[in-house]
Symmetry: C2
Subunit: 150 residues, 2 copies
DNA sequence: TCCTTGTTGAAAGAACTTTTCAATAAACTA
DNA sequence: TAGTTTATTGAAAAGTTCTTTCAACAAGGA
């Protein structure tokens, strides 16, 4: 998909959701498009200023939120940083309840073939991985059911 | 493994690495042990003060770093927050180069059975997932080889 | 072109993390 | 066990990162 096509897609998405298409928003979008992934807000701001000199960092934050809302951008990591006690393993498997935010670790088998296939397709070596699942824990599923019936 | 066993393990790890075993460090460790996963530094601080009243937040941060260095604790999410341009999918698969920090997305098949097995073992429903792989991209592998030969 | 109102950028504020430094306490020595 | 050394601590200050506030601006409809 070309840059222009993407911009048209974004223009539509914005209008449909009742937002305006502005120069700062186009600049942020274009920076994201041209850099695939892995930019932080400050980097996006610096690159974006070459496209829209008046662009402010605040607008970058706001636009990233907006694009996320529209499903056009996505935060790479979860917003709340946590610490967990863990063994010396480098591989991490977390299961997070979206309602009560409880976090458990789970044993994970059967990922090896997947990793090998990724390695072959991309040429990357893979040293460690993080698999983070989000859903509802049994308690919250039950509470939700109770609430629906009430 | 019991709490006491863990403390002995930590005492050894600290001494072997040339660090001292202190009350604040024991308190942080014990809080992490008793709470499995998902605490932020401030929460650890509050809980830790019941075990070591003088415990300061700064020491919590320092101890978490130390425990991470010793392989006894682990940060749940990566420290640098990034944004990536993405489609509307809720499932995310990132491959991050640990050297040049390039991030690419990759197609991911074959995770479904794994998720189903996790669901059965834990009782959680799973709405979305994040699979983050870390390794070296082909370019950096090559550069590393060149450097070794130089 | 005018008007309405969503959007912007700067400054201030909030939240989170790190650095600095004098006081403290762990661990070694005698 | 008491004395000594030095890593460690907690408080305050500084540094980062992100959010809120608000007057000025510009997008898009009339």
């Amino acid at each position: 998909m070309s840059v222009d096509t993407q911009q048209v897609r974004m223009a539509q998405a914005l209008r449909e959701a009742g937002y305006r298409l502005t120069q700062p928003r186009l600049a942020v979008l274009q920076v994201l498009q041209e850099n695939e992934a892995g930019l932080n807000p400050e980097e996006i701001h610096q690159l974006g200023k070459t496209l829209c000199p008046s662009l402010g960092l605040v607008t970058v934050y706001r636009t990233l939120d907006l694009l996320a809302e529209l499903g056009l951008a996505r935060r790479l990591h979860s917003e709340h940083q946590c610490h967990s006690y863990a063994s010396a393993r480098t591989d991490r498997h977390y299961l997070i309840c979206e309602r009560c935010h409880r976090v458990i670790e789970f044993p994970c088998h059967g990922l090896d073939e997947l990793l090998e296939s990724v390695r072959q397709h991309t040429g990357y070596t893979i040293n460690e991985h993080l698999l983070e699942l989000r859903g509802l824990c049994p308690d919250c599923q039950e509470n939700q059911a109770v609430q629906r019936n009430a």
